[in-house]
Subunit: 111 residues, 2 copies
DNA sequence: CGCATATTCAACCAAATGGTTGACCAAAAC
DNA sequence: GTTTTGGTCAACCATTTGGTTGAATATGCG
C-alpha cells in the first residue's frame, strides 16, 4: 500500500532537497536561483524540484520563461500528522530546533 | 544510533518499515514476530530492522536467542521538530516559535 | 530577426535499495 | 547428544536513485 507518505519522506531524505526547502522558506525562487548555491548541474536541481513537486512539498508556476518555486507546507503537515500516531513525543524541543537551524540552513555548505 | 535526518527520513520512506514502527508502538517484539504478518522473507525483515536501528528509530536487544525490538522515539522527535519549522511559520522566526511553544505546547513530563 | 536566458529532455552511468535464496551460528528443547 | 528455533550473513538480482552531459524548447531582449 503505497501512499503519499512514501514520496514525502523519500523527498525529505535528501539533504539537497531539504536545503532547497529551507531556501524556499524565506521566499519563492526561480529554478536557476535555487540551483545557484549548489555545486551540481542545473538539470540535477531541476530533477530535485520535480521530486519535491510530486511529493507536494512545493509547487511550481511558470511565468514567462521563469518557473517559480513555492513552498507548500501542507504535505509536511500530513507527514507530521502521521507522526502524531506515535503520540509519545515529548513536547517539541527548542534546542533541537535551534541546532537544526545552525546545521541545516547554511545551504552554501551543503554537500 | 545516528540521528541524522537523512537516515531517519529514508527509513520512514518505506511502508513496510512504517508498519513495523506502528506494530512496535503497541509493544516490544521479537524479530520473528515482527516478520510474521508480512509476506516477505525473514531476512528481508531483518534488513529493515537494521535500517530502523541505524536510523535510531528502534533499538534491538538480544536476550537468549531472541532479539527484542523496541521503539525509540527520539529520532522521530528530531524529524518532527524539523518539520515543525516548515509547517507553522512562513519565515523562520525563532522568537515566534518560542512564543508558539509556550502557548501551544506547554511542557509536560515524559509520558 | 538573431542571440542569450531559463528550463527540461534523453541517454547514459555508478551506486544504493529491496528483495530473494541457501548456508551458517547460537541458544533452546527433546 | 541431536534437532529445532531465532536470526544473520553472503551472494546474487532487478529496480531506483542521483548525478552527468549534450541537445532541445521556449521565452525575452537588443
Amino acid at each position: 500500500m503505497s501512499n503519499d507518505l512514501d514520496t514525502v519522506f523519500a523527498a525529505l531524505a535528501d539533504p539537497t532537497r531539504r536545503a532547497i526547502l529551507a531556501m524556499l522558506l524565506e521566499d519563492d525562487m526561480a529554478v536557476t536561483d535555487v540551483a545557484d548555491p549548489f555545486e551540481m548541474s542545473l538539470a540535477a536541481i531541476s530533477k530535485h524540484l520535480i521530486i519535491l513537486t510530486k511529493a507536494g512539498l512545493i509547487s511550481q508556476e511558470k511565468r514567462g520563461r521563469v518557473k517559480w518555486c513555492k513552498l507548500e507546507p501542507d504535505a509536511l503537515r500530513a507527514a507530521s500528522v502521521w507522526m502524531q500516531g506515535f503520540g509519545q513525543f515529548e513536547p517539541v524541543n527548542l534546542d533541537a530546533f535551534e541546532r537544526f537551524l545552525e546545521v541545516e540552513l547554511p545551504v552554501t555548505d551543503d554537500p
